[in-house]
Amino acid sequence: MDLTQYNDILTIIFYGTSIGLILIGLYAALVKRSLIKIMIGLSIVDSGVNLLLLSIGYLAGGTAPIFSPAVIDKQNVIMVDPVPQALVLTAIVIGFAVTGVGLALIIRLYRHHKTVNIDEIKNLKW
């Protein structure tokens, strides 16, 4: 199915959604008082950035960069850029690892202070 005539709408959808996710995540990470909500905010920011990175690679009318038996013998098949997909794979795993460590820190802070509210966990001077 040829999507080239929808290019403008697709641009707005992809770029707008990813940047919107980034902004929403940043808002949550900077404004919310609960540590868990801050982690969720950071995680949403990661999703937004990864989505944006993926959108860079799109080629209008392109198909997945897999040489399946249906595609392998055809000529002039446009394939989308596989490099951003590979980069995003790595970035997703890394973001997940950081989220995991962050959540472990929250568990330990909770054990110690019995709260996850950032205003009450202020042993160190800012």
Binding site: A29, V45, V49
Partner: protein, 501 residues
Amino acid sequence: MVGTPVQFIAIPLLAAFLIPLLGKIWKELVRITPGVVLAYLLYLAVNLMSYTLEHGRIVEVIAGWAPPWGIDLVFSPFSGFLATLMIFMGFIVWAYSYRFKAIGDYEDYEPTIKYNLLLMMLITASVGVVLTGDIFNLFVFIEILGITSYGLTAFYRHRDGAEASFKYLFIGSLSSMFLLLAIMILYSQLGTLNMADIASKADQLKPVYKISILILFLVAMGIEAEMFPLNGWAPDAYSQAPAPVGAAFAGIVVKAGIYTIIRLIYTLFDVGGTYEYLITMGLITMIIAEFAAISQDRLKRMLAYSSIGQMGLVLTAFGIGKEAGVFAALFLMFNHAIIKSLLFLSGSYMVYNSKTKYLKELNGIGKQMPFTALLFSLAAFAIVGFPPFAGFWSKLAVLTAAADSGMILIVALILSVSLIEVVYYLRVVNRIYFLKPETSDREIQKPTTQAVLSMAVLGIIILVVGFYPDIITGVLHKAASTLLDKSSYIKDVLAIGQTIN
């Protein structure tokens, strides 16, 4: 050549996967393996360094695909010098923490496994940052650096390590976001991720992209390099982490952060005004950090702020540019790694048994721990720049470089900030030797033999470099000129492409 640069990454990784298995066979292997690995890497680094000083850059291709299609590692006098410094400091930190009581006092060896693993990978990641020639690979290594730092900062249960680590994690996440955005814009315009290729195609970028990438990159790496105002995480992380880890942060991690900024500005992009930006931000960082340091009443926080100030000075020196400035900056980095680490390592034993680490608890400790206190004082004198210790030569180099470029204001600023340093360091030395202790029966922790040896090695280096700076200045000059030679970097890396493909 006895090996290739990829061994700097592959061998520690191999050891990292092996350590849990080895621990089942014999527990002591867990502590010994990182030392063996680091010793071998140090030997390899020195060997490659002597090769590259004669023959030029060593470019190694990974997975058989030449740059710009594949990833490459570059061992040049500049990056190799930094890598060797990091591995050497890593070895010293490992030796110091070999039987460090606070780490191993759980009596079972699980925490020791984790500590040694994380420490070894911290060093490996920093070396990887410095050696890689591909920006996404840079991103991956920076993330490894981040994760190990978060884990090591929160290592102790009985301190506020978790809080400091969470702050660090939060800011670190934002920095990776900015870095990814920069990489993404760069890739979308130039279609390549290889540093040499980007350097050669950089003029094809429209200014709006260049500026946005530059800003995003600088913000992201400013966090790691502790530039103002992005260094809020640093004093907490340094003071809450175990002492050898604090030394590792000051001596190893922050160098990796500064390296990325320098690589970006010197090799990748050439936008007018970046050098002035470095000078300005470096001076601001230095002034604010030193003023903060003088008002601290705890030893480790004071050292942390002082370290941030020194990094500001290094950035200023890089901003001054040209061979003199870069030489001074590299000399400063070298001295700072050795001296600041010695301050952290010796300082930690002096405040070992104090819960709050307040400075006034150091009164009179010079009599109870003569050797440690002597090393601390030696390092303090060295870092403020008294002759004939090592720090004097690097300060002199910075001042000469600034004066030669006609930046008299900068000379004045650096001198006045040095005065501030003298005040707060001599204050501590005064306390150690000349003030009476508050309580009469204070328990001290005797340092382990390994700790004493590692600290002594650092002290000896300070003295040797102080009296014979020429031992190291030759290497530094070569490193400085290699960094400034952007076109030969591009040529060396991309030429490999012709020989393989």
